[in-house]
């Protein structure tokens, strides 16, 4: 299933899936369609480096994400995981390394990429922010169609129709004419996700999407993300929600000190991590006091 198809809710679904209770038994990554096993990488990162002034934030990052795969990045704050994610959307410009997207775009950061190249990178991915970053002067609907209409030059009527379908599936149809400040944090973040989906990206990036939410609002957002994963969206997620990572991720990477210390399937990473640093980090998260 292509992401564009995935963004359209199936008409035969009577209820938005978000309203259904979460499945009691978590879906295991293995039980999920993974596409072709030999699927080529949708995203491939080699030797990515980034410094702020003299501080090295990313040492040399290698990543590979195939189509339909969910990669979860975990790690202590300041480890570089958010910077890594932002480099994938061109919000930070890496100092070195190569980012390939789907065999059609290859960016070598050893020289500063042109605006056009950055635009191409942003065109292929969409980001969901920790603090939602919805546009406060626009209604929910305007927030969603701004990119499709103003940037991608799609017909307004089509963009509106698609936005309303997406809003319907996250159960926020009646909020379409409200402004972001009238919504709860969880509702705002679901609009943030819809805004990203409406761009029809190949790759969805999530930067701690539930960290700013009150605990009782986290569930709705995570449920929606789980559905997107099950639909075959390719996702890179930075999160501290370990239980969620265990259920959704095909691969988990532990980032610390600007390098990927260890990676593997969630079973392995949460069950028996090899590296001492990984073990310490997980222990601290699971037993904070």
């Amino acid at each position: 299933m292509s992401p564009a198809d995935a963004s359209t809710p199936k008409p035969e679904t009577p209820e938005p899936a978000i309203l259904e209770p979460a499945t009691p038994e978590p879906q295991r990554p293995e039980s999920r369609p993974r596409g072709m096993d030999s699927a080529p990488a949708l995203l491939s990162v080699r030797g990515l480096q980034k410094s702020f002034d003299s501080t090295r934030v990313l040492e040399s990052i290698d990543l590979r994400v195939t189509r339909g795969e969910v990669l979860v990045l975990i790690g202590p704050s300041g480890s570089g995981k958010t910077t890594l994610l932002r480099c994938l959307n061109g919000l930070e410009i890496a100092d070195g390394g190569i980012v390939d997207v789907a065999d059609e775009l290859s960016i070598d950061f050893s020289s500063t990429p042109s605006k056009k190249t950055l635009a191409a990178l942003r065109d292929r991915s969409a980001m969901v922010f920790q603090h939602y970053n919805l546009f406060p002067h626009m209604t929910v609907l305007e927030n969603i169609i701004e990119g499709p209409v103003m940037v991608q030059r799609r017909p307004r009527a089509e963009a509106v129709r698609e936005a309303l379908e997406l809003l319907d599936r996250v159960g926020l149809t009646e909020k379409k004419d409200n402004h972001p400040f009238e919504l709860s944090g969880g509702q705002q973040q679901r609009v943030g996700i819809v805004r990203a989906l409406a761009l029809r990206p190949q790759l969805l990036l999530f930067d701690e999407p539930t960290s700013a939410l009150d605990p009782e609002l986290v569930g709705d957002v995570l449920t929606l993300m789980k559905e997107l994963a099950a639909e075959g969206w390719t996702m890179v997620i930075v999160t501290h929600e370990l239980q969620f990572a265990r259920e959704v991720a095909h691969e988990v990477a532990f980032v610390d000190g600007g390098v990927i210390v260890e990676r593997g399937n969630p079973e392995l990473m949460f069950g028996s991590p090899e590296q001492e640093r990984t073990r310490q980090f997980l222990h601290r998260l699971l037993f904070p006091f």
């Binding site: 406060p136 002067h137 940037v151």
Partner: protein, 222 residues
């Protein structure tokens, strides 16, 4: 107050209000409109990474804020003719007040642009916008809301400052007061009357400001 003072007060009231309607208010509105265009241009120049561009804006703002408005007005009306540039009183006043408002409001607009959270730029870039489009579609509309209170103050100051135009022969509220006063000799009464009319105009403006702020306050990212 005796009968003749009352008569003077009433008979001078309409000429003064007329002065406000044909002089003070249109002068303030025209100067503010042009001044805001200048302000946005110079605010953006001031934020430019190109040193020369920001330097020009910095100099403009510094000169406007560092010299008296009355001197600016006199340079334009009495000074420029000596190098062959002759403006009538009204255009001279509009030019001087526009340049003046442009300088003050440029700083307000710059601060307002900087006050929009960085995440708004990032979200705009994320959905694929260029710098220019992010500025016009996302940042400036929010900056506009932030700058309503300080710009309202600038506008109210401008309304009062237009009284200086009486010194370059523009027919406006205060010049009308001066003319009646010169004729009747009752300076205290007539200048207090002029003050009262200015005060009423400003009261109306600041209540308008309050309403506007209440309406716009909600749509600002925090």
């Amino acid at each position: 107050m005796n009968q003749s003072e009352w008569d003077l007060l009433l008979s001078s009231f309409w000429p003064m209000v007329q002065g406000a309607l044909v002089g003070t208010i249109p002068l303030a509105l025209a100067s503010f409109a042009i001044g805001m265009v200048l302000a946005i241009i110079f605010a953006l120049m001031r934020l430019s990474k190109v040193k020369l561009v920001s330097g020009v804006a910095r100099a403009y703002i510094s000169i406007v804020r560092g010299t008296p408005l009355l001197v600016q007005l006199f340079v334009i009306f009495y000074g420029l003719p000596s190098i062959g540039l002759v403006f009538n009183p009204w255009p001279s006043a509009v030019v001087a007040f526009s340049i003046n408002v442009g300088g003050y409001a440029a700083e307000v607009v710059r601060a307002a642009i900087l006050s929009v959270p960085k995440g708004q730029w990032e979200a705009a870039y994320m959905i694929g916008m260029s710098h220019r489009r992010a500025l016009t579609r996302i940042i400036l509309p929010q900056a506009a809301r932030v700058s309503v209170p300080p710009l309202s103050n600038t506008f109210i100051s401008l309304v009062k400052d237009t009284s200086l135009a009486s010194l370059i022969l523009v027919t406006e509220l205060f010049r009308q007061a001066q003319e009646v006063a010169a004729f009747s000799g009752d300076f205290m009464l007539l200048y207090l009357e002029a003050a009262l009319i200015y005060w009423i105009i400003c009261l109306m403006l600041s209540s308008g400001q309050g309403l506007l702020e209440k309406r716009l306050d909600r749509y600002v990212a925090r």
